[in-house]
């Protein structure tokens, strides 16, 4: 352990990177934030609806324990329970911190924090700042980081791209290889630890609710360097987005949290304008099917129902793949105050005002529950050991990951308003463990020969030069589109093995075409093309992880829906029956007549399926392809059981 200050390199200036940087500064260490662009512009600004914390401000009887249960159930029991529990218990303190640093959260009459409803819960648990909560949180954290920057504690490298980790002879991460996106020079930065807070990979699908920087390239590069990647196939499809040629723009779940209703005309081909269709002519399909949760069923459920209405029942608006999201029954002032941000977006892109006319929306790729495999440690009582160097550590020593780039918090489906929470929670939480890690190193980065860094730099310099020299016939931006089309066509809401097998072959074709890429710009100042081609390479590799994971997982869990493996829950089934069944089983054979007809059989199917599949998918890059294995999930706190929202 050297006498100098510890030096931590944080890749990414979104919520996770900023929270962590702030925490590191408080502990008097050096931090370098590397960002692809100016810090205020990260993708976290796109989060709209809010951030969850069970403060129970409305006296509904909410508690962190309820928040924990809803999150685990929402994720179809694939999330790591001790971590999720800790996150939910820390959530109120996180909201209070955000409030203290000046986030303009909406407030109650007495001046306390206001909360609203969100999907997958029956409680008002979501704190919000209009409908641009993510933007407001990024700004507040950015301001804190700027404060430390002003005091000289933070160094920022904006307009720099992370290319890979510097690994020493033992495979320990000793720094990062970076590219200056203006001068296009490649250099290495030595650090005691490197953290990937680099967000999700929505660009693998090209058109999604994600920003253009969300290529997942940094996390994929870690995977290509030997890090394990977890649950890649679990991609969240958000039910409500505006279709568009360049992007599918998110229409926040908060629209439904504030009373928005999804519907389609009851009769296919009913061409009347929406406002002139009476209630009797409207099919409020979520409210009808899920009387308890209604429009606020979790996202995986809502997206599947929209898909079913449009493609199986052919009830999309005017035969198009779209349904109405209707807010017109709410007062204009209320909507402007609570949802102004998204109403503006809708107006600007469609020319219609959602206060007057129902919005037309369709599901879109939104979030990756999967990401880099990261570790954690619990104490003897199953609580998170906050000082453990294992927390948020990837399988490459010295390389950490958090936020959307990790994989543990959302299981098979993320609940709305939990992403901002997991981003900030992981950012704040991992700090102590990283310090312990650095203190425990017998050999510091100062003892690593300079050739290790030189070799890494040379490797990347020649890699980018090779790319620049590519003079084939494929335009890389077009090839990216083609990859996106393949993924959109086959690895979305409904997944079928035959199509997935075909997709793997089609991705191989893309990989072959990649070799024939033309680097359409080979200049050496602020040239984004070589860097994009490298990102495209990563996206192709990641699409293989996603697709292979999806092909191999023969079950239906959360966002991963394979109709072939639907266990067909009986309509009157009560999830508590399953707990009852497990208990009865402890005492011996369960008799057929202990449960309503068909239920026992269903429960046996459910149990057998969990034995096979209630596991994390782990992808490792071996022999130039993803090798998939499975490992157990910690379900020690809540017994996994069938989900039900009606």
């Amino acid at each position: 352990m050297p006498k100098r200050k510890k030096k931590i390199i944080v890749i990414g200036g979104g919520l996770t990177g900023l929270s962590l940087a702030m925490k590191i500064c408080e502990r008097n260490a050096e931090v370098v934030i590397v960002s692809y662009q100016s810090l205020k512009r990260s993708h976290s600004v796109c989060a709209q609806g809010g951030i969850n914390a069970a403060i129970d401000a409305r006296n509904e009887g909410d508690s962190p324990e309820n928040h924990f249960y809803d999150t685990i159930k929402g994720g179809d029991f694939l999330a790591h329970q001790p971590l999720v529990r800790d996150m939910c218990y820390q959530a109120p303190a996180i909201i209070h911190l955000l409030d203290r640093i000046g986030v303009a959260f909406n407030r109650t009459g007495e001046g306390h924090l206001e909360f609203r409803r969100f999907g997958g819960t029956l409680y008002s648990r979501t704190a919000f700042a209009g409908a641009t909560t993510g933007q407001q949180l990024v700004y507040a954290l950015d301001e804190q980081v700027r404060r430390f920057q002003h005091d000289g504690a933070v160094k920022t490298l904006e307009w720099h791209e992370y290319l890979g980790a510097v690994l020493d002879s033992q495979g320990i991460c000793r720094g990062a290889v970076l590219q200056d996106l203006r001068t296009n020079t490649v250099f290495t930065l030595a650090g005691d630890a490197v953290v990937l807070a680099t967000g999700g990979p929505g660009q693998v699908y090209v058109r999604s609710t994600n920003s253009t920087v969300n290529t997942g390239a940094a996390a994929t590069m870690a995977y290509l360097q030997g890090a394990r990647y977890g649950n890649g196939e679990f991609i969240q499809i958000h039910p409500t987005a505006i279709p568009g040629p360049d992007k599918l723009r998110l229409m926040s779940e908060s629209a439904r949290g504030e009373g928005g209703r999804l519907w389609v005309p009851r009769n296919a081909g009913d061409a009347r304008p929406p406002k002139s269709i009476p209630d009797s002519g409207r099919n409020y399909f979520l409210e009808e099917k899920f009387p308890l949760f209604g429009n606020l069923v979790p996202r995986d459920v809502a997206s599947r129902e929209i898909h079913d209405i449009v493609y199986n029942q052919n009830l999309g608006i005017a035969g198009e793949p779209m349904v109405y999201l209707d807010l017109t029954h709410k007062s204009k002032d209320y909507l402007e105050d609570r949802l102004g941000g998204i109403i503006d977006i809708y107006k600007k892109f469609t020319g219609e005002d959602p206060k007057d006319v129902p919005m037309k929306i369709f599901p879109a790729v939104h979030y990756s529950m999967g990401g880099l495999w990261t570790d954690y440690e619990t104490d003897g009582n199953g609580m998170i050991e906050h000082g453990s160097p294992r927390n948020q550590a990837t399988s490459i020593p010295g390389l950490y990951a958090g936020g959307e780039a990790d994989y543990q918090y959302h299981g098979a489906n993320r609940l709305g308003a939990n992403s901002l929470l997991s981003c900030i929670y992981t950012g704040l939480m991992m700090c102590r463990g990283i310090f312990t890690y650095i203190e425990n190193q017998d050999k510091s980065v100062d003892d690593i020969p300079s050739t290790t860094f030189g070799d890494s730099r040379n490797h990347w310099e020649s890699r980018l030069n090779e790319i620049k020299a590519m003079k084939g016939s494929e335009n890389p931006y077009q090839l990216h589109r083609d990859l996106g089309d393949i993924m959109m066509g086959n690895v979305l809401i409904v997944r079928e093995n035959k199509k997935l097998e075909k997709t793997i072959r089609e991705i191989d074709d893309i990989k072959t075409r990649f070799k024939d890429v033309n680097c359409v710009d080979s200049t050496d100042w602020a040239n984004p093309t070589p860097s994009f081609i490298n990102q495209l390479y990563c996206m192709i590799e990641l699409s293989r992880v996603i697709t292979k994971g999806a092909l191999m997982r023969d079950e239906f869990r959360g966002a991963h829906y394979k109709p072939e493996f639907d266990l067909k829950q009986p309509s009157k089934f009560d999830p508590h029956e399953y707990i009852d069944y497990l208990e009865k089983k402890n005492y011996g054979e369960v008799s057929e007549d202990a449960f309503p007809e068909g239920h026992l059989e269903y429960m046996k199917r459910f149990e057998a399926n969990n034995d096979n599949w209630l596991k994390s998918t782990i992808a490792e890059y071996k022999n130039n392809k993803p090798e998939i294995s499975y490992e157990p999930v910690d379900t020690s706190i809540v017994t996994p059981r069938p989900r039900k929202y009606d």
Partner: protein, 249 residues
């Protein structure tokens, strides 16, 4: 059938000190096209209208829904975000130019770091004791929150500075965006503890007194932030501060 097309005329510059030049592009029309989608189309087929293969145009963008502020440029002479600039509502050929009040990096990309430096000068943050759990934040009325929220939607896009006759490439005027942030933080109960330092920062060179009151900033703000109100308010706050500096100190 007559195929519809979109015509674009783009001002290009290879390097910060290089000569500028114009190039024209034609791309196939699609419904709901915005300027970003056109630029992406040019990336996929970087050929000018006259058939010359060129380097794809470079520009900054990220969120594509007008919350990140990246893709600000001059479109038909007007400063705005390219993502919300829909082709259907633009006259053609669509003229694209980089912002003129910030140094050009390449093509439509500019360096707006001056804006972030100004935020440091005025200490645009709330000073807190630490990130540890010390309970709830200050009580605040929803009315003040609404006022703060409107100011806090500023995405540092720079439209107000581009339009401002006072703000130039070579002077050090802070501009409306910065003054408005001073107001934002002075409105916060704990943020206001740095009020005097912030006001002192905008009372110096390049500060509030340099504002020529042209009022164009508020017209071009994509988030409809009440910038002129902020300028007036900070004007009042600094006047009081001046008196205080004379009589109290």
């Amino acid at each position: 059938m007559n195929k519809k097309i979109v015509k674009l005329k783009i001002k290009r510059q290879d390097k910060p000190d290089a000569q500028t030049y114009w190039q024209e592009f034609t791309i196939p029309y699609k419904e709901r096209l915005n300027v970003i989608a056109c630029l992406q189309d040019i990336q996929r087929n970087p050929t000018t209208q006259s058939g010359e293969s060129v380097n794809p145009v470079t520009w900054d963008c990220n969120c594509l829904e007008e919350v990140c502020g990246s893709c600000t440029m001059l479109i038909n002479g007007k400063v705005r975000q390219a993502c919300t600039a829909l082709i259907d509502s633009l006259e053609q050929p669509v003229l694209l130019e980089p912002m003129s009040k910030f140094p050009v990096v390449r093509d439509l990309q500019v360096d707006r770091s001056r804006m972030f430096e100004n935020l440091k000068k005025v200490k645009a943050w709330v000073e807190i004791d630490g990130t540890h759990d010390i309970g709830e934040g200050p009580i605040m009325s929803d009315k003040v929150r609404a006022q703060r929220y409107a100011l806090s939607e500023c995405m540092s896009c720079g439209c107000c500075l581009e339009a401002c006759p006072q703000f130039s490439l070579t002077n050090n005027f802070m501009g409306a965006a910065t003054f408005s942030q001073v107001r934002l933080f002075n409105l916060h109960p704990s943020g206001s503890m740095l009020k005097e330092e912030r006001l002192d920062a905008v009372m110096g060179e390049g500060g509030i007194t340099d504002c020529g009151n042209a009022q164009v900033c508020v017209e071009v703000c994509p988030k409809s932030i009440p910038l002129t109100e902020s300028i007036a308010d900070i004007g009042r706050q600094t006047t009081l501060q001046t008196l205080k500096n004379i009589f109290v100190k």
